[in-house]
Symmetry: C2
Subunit: 768 residues, 2 copies
């Protein structure tokens, strides 16, 4: 209304208008969420997040490359130069790097060298926008993006020789070792100067972390202003004025010179495609048919705003809290990547997503968060996974560059399917999904046991556990047991009794590796067993100058990478202390086997107090919530807030581990809302939120609010709760209660409640 009055006034007082409108936008109207996103969070330390602009689930991710081994291309170390801006990146990953294709670089100079790099200053990083000053030549490079097209603006010094190179031989993770594990390998490239404003070509690369087969990134680059001269190159040899370097398995590129330029800025749009160069050009025509940089940026901001505003937090939250929360949502929606219409493998009329990197990381909290924010998106993602099963034989556990790989443990597609099923997502063929899950459970992937499916399945299906004949036997067994539980849940839901009975039984298989030993005061741990059924007490370790030694295997032992290779330990990236608590479907039985509630409480206390808990890795994601199962949500709460306050913040190193495509971020976002999902199951655990009010504006039109009454630094415990005005004594809530819309009110108090969350405990399989 205020806005309307001013609009009317504007007819009379045009000069005043601008000032007033600006005032309104910055103070009176609700602040836009996207402005709280800070893509710099997590670019230092272990976060490895992508720093450049990207649309939600955006296919193109243009950004600076400072280091071949950097997963996101970026290095915060300012002593490292920018050697190019490539169009494809992933966010938050570890291990060998992937992508970094189609590298562009402005420079000042002549046909001197293919290598062009510069130190940088004045980095500006905002949602949808990246800017940097290339110190060597004083060139400002600005980037924004649409889903498949990057928009570059290079501002040169007036009198400089202005040039831009496109280098198809650059990519991340290159090593000199042929077929080096986790290294990307060059296959071929091709470049064509189509006109004095357009260049097309492609780069074909294989390998990388997932050891994928070859993928091809096609591009079309168009300039606003014609270049006056150019030189292509092949295999480091320059060919001035030669328009074409045809694919002969070698590295190619081109440099363009703008000798006659009147403006100081060169603008370039670069579209990519995974099917053809002409499709890449078409993507430009469709997404950015103009030269208005700010318009593209505004559209990208609007795309994000549409998603971010679906979760509205208390406007009185601190700026730091808002920044942490909305940045966490942003990180969650960078991947997987929407490649619909860009699938070179099969009929392209269904949703297609790539860069599941990895589901092992994202199934726990990222998928559930996407389901909460935009269930229709999650339906598309699940359907893409089913198409991958249908055509490639297995759902991915990880996938990148149009190729499945690698599996760290389980076949966690099962959890994603069960999560969708139990939360009632429509538009998924659950019969086909059951087939896909049964493929994992029944058919060993064979020759390459780290590509997809379940490695060590022959053991698992014969012995009920994976024996120490196989690497990662411990977490494989645990994860398969939970995968089986998820399979059973869906089987039951679609009335496939036989499968239900088989797999609900198999979901107890974790117990086959449960050894009743004591360690640091706690009893019972998942421990290695050989194929004959004997416990394995020690492992071979070659640590002492090549002398073969055996060292005891204990629940705190980390056989990797000290004794065996990173991927060769009994557990992947964690100890038995961590993994032994990871029984998401049967915490009640876990408690029983640990010696009952009191012993379990002690165990958890030891776990956190002695820092056996690893904040930086996914296997422990659920662990801080386990106190819920002994009726002590207040203790969960203490741990969660301690973890967040200690390890997360809104600085550049504000993410405590690899963000893993947003996994760490989504964990944070959920807990800041006071909810945490047990993925694969239909409920959320309730904890003290960081906000006095959170409103989830759902796709179905129903709003769900979480209100923390009287919350303060002192009033940090939930005394009681009500749902839509009725008493709500559980410390967990069903997804259906949320989708129905309504309000969950949490009454806060200074001390833990003796009643709330103490009786009706969260579900466990052995309850039934």
């Amino acid at each position: 209304m205020i806005y309307l009055i001013f609009m009317l006034m504007s007819l009379l007082r045009n000069t005043l208008l601008l000032v007033v409108v600006l005032l309104i936008q910055t103070s009176l109207l609700p602040a836009q969420k996207y402005k709280f996103v800070d893509p710099k969070i997590g670019v230092e330390g272990l976060g490895n997040v992508f720093i450049g602009p990207s649309c939600p689930y955006g296919m193109i991710k243009p950004g600076p490359d400072n280091k071949k081994a950097a997963n996101s291309g970026y290095s915060p170390d300012l002593d490292r130069p920018v050697y190019g801006f490539s169009q494809t990146h992933v966010s938050g990953t570890g291990g060998g790097a992937k992508y970094g294709n189609i590298s562009v670089m402005p420079f000042s100079g002549d046909f001197e060298s293919i290598t062009q790099e510069s130190l940088r200053t004045d980095e500006i990083v905002e949602l949808g926008y990246y800017s940097v000053q290339l110190h060597k030549w004083n060139i400002q490079t600005e980037i924004t993006t649409s889903p498949k097209v990057a928009f570059y603006q290079f501002s040169f010094e007036a009198e400089s020789k202005k040039a831009v190179k496109i280098d198809l031989g650059q990519f991340l993770g290159e090593t000199l070792i042929p077929d080096g594990r986790e290294a990307q390998q060059f296959v071929s490239s091709e470049i064509e100067i189509v006109s004095d404003v357009e260049i097309r070509g492609y780069s074909r690369i294989r390998g990388g972390w997932n050891n994928g087969s070859a993928y091809t990134v096609y591009f079309s680059a168009v300039f606003e202003q014609p270049f006056s001269r150019f030189s292509t190159w092949k295999n480091n040899k320059l060919f001035p004025n030669e328009k074409l370097q045809i694919d002969s398995g070698e590295k190619t590129g081109a440099m363009m010179f703008f000798d006659d330029l009147k403006e100081s800025s060169v603008r370039m749009k670069i579209g990519i495609s995974f099917v053809s160069t002409l499709k890449a050009r078409d993507n430009i025509n469709k997404e950015i048919p103009h030269w208005d940089f700010d318009k593209t940026l505004a559209e990208t901001e609007a795309r994000w705003e549409d998603l971010l505003k679906r979760i509205e937090i208390d406007k009185n939250a601190t700026d730091d809290q808002k920044t942490m929360f909305y940045t966490a949502l942003y990180h969650t929606m960078l991947m997987p990547v929407d490649r619909t219409g860009e699938n070179p493998l099969w009929e392209n009329n269904t949703p297609y997503y790539d860069d599941f990197y990895a589901i092992w990381d994202t199934y726990r909290s990222s998928s559930p968060l996407i389901t909460l924010i935009s269930p229709s998106r999650e339906v598309d993602i699940v359907n893409a996974m089913l198409q991958i099963y249908k055509h490639d034989g297995y759902m991915p556990d990880a996938r990148s560059g149009n190729c499945n790989g690698r599996t760290q443990g389980g076949s966690n597609g099962e959890v994603v399917i069960a999560d969708a099923f139990t939360k009632g997502l429509q538009g998924i063929n659950y019969k086909l999904a059951l087939k896909a899950m049964l493929k994992d459970a029944d058919f060993a992937p064979g020759g390459n046991e780290e590509k997809e499916g379940r490695g060590g399945l022959t053991d698992y299906n014969r012995l009920g556990y994976v024996s120490n004949r196989f690497v990662r036997a411990g977490n494989r067994t645990l994860e398969y047991a939970y995968n089986d539980y998820c399979l059973a849940v869906v089987a039951k839901g679609i009335k496939r009794k036989g499968e239900y009975q088989r797999f609900i039984k198999q979901s107890d298989n974790w117990q086959n590796l449960w050894r009743d030993i004591e360690d640091n005061g706690s009893h019972g741990f998942i421990m290695p067993k050989d194929a004959k059924g004997n416990w394995v007490d020690s492992i071979q370790c070659n640590a002492n100058n090549g002398r073969v030694d055996y060292i005891p295997y204990t629940p705190l032992a980390q056989d990797w990478p000290n004794c065996v290779c990173w991927w060769c330990g009994f557990f992947y990236e964690a100890s038995s202390w961590e993994y032994s608590l990871s029984i998401p479907h049967d915490v009640a039985m876990l408690i029983e086997k640990s010696g009952g509630r009191e012993a379990f409480r002690k165990r958890l206390d030891t776990f956190f107090d002695r820092e056996y808990y690893n904040v930086a890795n996914e296997p422990s994601f659920l662990s801080p919530n386990l106190y819920h199962w002994i009726g002590r949500p207040d203790l969960s709460n203490d741990q969660i807030h301690r973890i967040i306050d200690k390890h997360y913040n809104c600085t550049r190193s504000g993410i405590p581990g690899n963000d893993d495509s947003g996994a760490m971020s989504s964990w944070l976002a959920f807990h800041m809302m006071g909810l945490y999902p047990n993925a694969g199951q239909s409920y959320y655990l309730i904890n003290t939120p960081y906000f006095k009010q959170t409103v989830i504006h759902q796709e179905n039109g129903n709003d769900f609010s979480i209100v923390a009454k009287n919350m303060s630094d002192r009033n940090k415990y939930i005394k009681s709760a009500s749902l839509n005005g009725k008493p709500f004594t559980k410390a967990w809530i069903e997804h259906s209660d949320i989708t129905a819309g309504g309000t969950l009110v949490l009454e806060m108090d200074t001390k833990p409640s003796k009643t709330w969350g103490t009786s009706l405990l969260p579900p466990s399989k052995s309850d039934h």
Copy 2:
């Protein structure tokens, strides 16, 4: 010398020269071998051979398509129209069709319909040349080819409206069933009118017989004369003058009209590539940089001549014999296809071959024949197989469209490797080869057991045979046993004792399915066994109106396709009578188990007399030679000549079964020379040749001659033999004797010899 004299004379009498030279060429000088090649042999009946022009191992195989389901595109049924000339075909295959991509079609008319087809007359089929009259419009289409480029010449009626269409939505083996087994599936296509003389684009297809993943055939088509109008189309909708139909997952194409044409002929060159459209154009520039149709044809003839002339047969052989022999050589060298420089999967600086279709067919006689004619080629092919192992995880047993699949029985790459190794081929990394073979032997292929590796391996390695839990358990067991023998031979040769001992033992595994039963007077057959070790006497058959019946399983039973699916029988495509004789490494033990020499002779007689022998399929390829192992090469001889004289000839139906990429043809060629290899081993069995003299001009420069002295219709048995003048009493000869060069003289007689070939029998494993 005569030639020289005439040359001198020519200085004086130029006019006479031409006449004389022509005389010399047609009578006095040796006739060119390629002229005896008749590509029509095998295009009728079961042969399924490709009828169009092709270079040796040529990547492009342009030819007419008359029938979607035809493996070679061609149908001899003249009631079937030509609906296009596509650029990719295979030769001699069965099952679901593959390829048939980038279909071109001349027509007379206007923008009427995308469908253009015509009945045909006046087919002319010669090596390197195909011509047909399209009856509907009276257009002659002539085709010749270089390795990667097809050259078309369309001759229209003078006053007609001249047009050519390029249809990217056409391909062989299309069905309406989504994901139909063995059917090709459309993925996407793209077309661009680059100028008034050039069109580029691609077609992306998946599936087909090997159920392969998507492959892309890129093309560039250039016309000699500019077209005046054009229309592209997408999804059956015409877009006149629209230059571009971008990949959106739909069928596209273009038709070009030559309104202003002065000539009556339109000439078009079409290059293909598996990496890019520009590479396709580059292939044209490199291979046919002119418009001289006859020159291209002559070059292709010369390429063939260079290979064919390496085996020189008696010039007094009948024309029919020459035709049969040289056509057989020709068929052997159509596939696999040389795709060096066209590999989109990995670094392309090593030999790359595709269309192993299938090694199951070709390992027995095609590979050995290539080794004899051009060992350097076979080295390249083996190295390509090893690269495939290295990057795709397994050597192919079959491969097409850059994708492994399918396996009919064994992992017969082992036989190809052992054949190369025992014949001393240099330039192959046999350590890597052993790794590739061990991959087959140790790692079950998993999820898809018909793609590569060894299906049912878990049984085989645990039980020593494949049980009836798995399909094709019979021939899988037999073939794995022989594959293991081949592995053992190479392991021994490179001093890997452990592997040798393991696999030489496993090579006896065929005996685990040898059941001592009697059938039609013979004893002992390979029969099905269950996983518990019990013989299986009957199989379930649903033949009677859905009532489940069990029928006895006998050595003559064909459970497929009567009771179970084609691929689901105990044996693949043959009976136990056939397969039980297929123990190439241990015929001596086979004889012993059959009850000794006399019983074995009777068994073989029964086999041939009662026509249990199937001339049309590979499992029986060695069987006619088995009499050699009981010291009766004369009886082998009788069978072989009877088989050839009855089943092979030089008519259009002159090949008795699917030629299978030249497998049937190479069997014939060997036997016409009087040699037959036992693939995987280093020797050839000797039989009465069809020629009085055969000279093998070897790559190493050494000629090896086989002379059949006094051979006549009556003198059809070998009485005695000598090698380089020394008596040679064996009915088999080592490959090293051939490569050393020399002459094998066979003295012929009217009756079987009592001494020659009767004592030193061909090798068997159990001899040692």
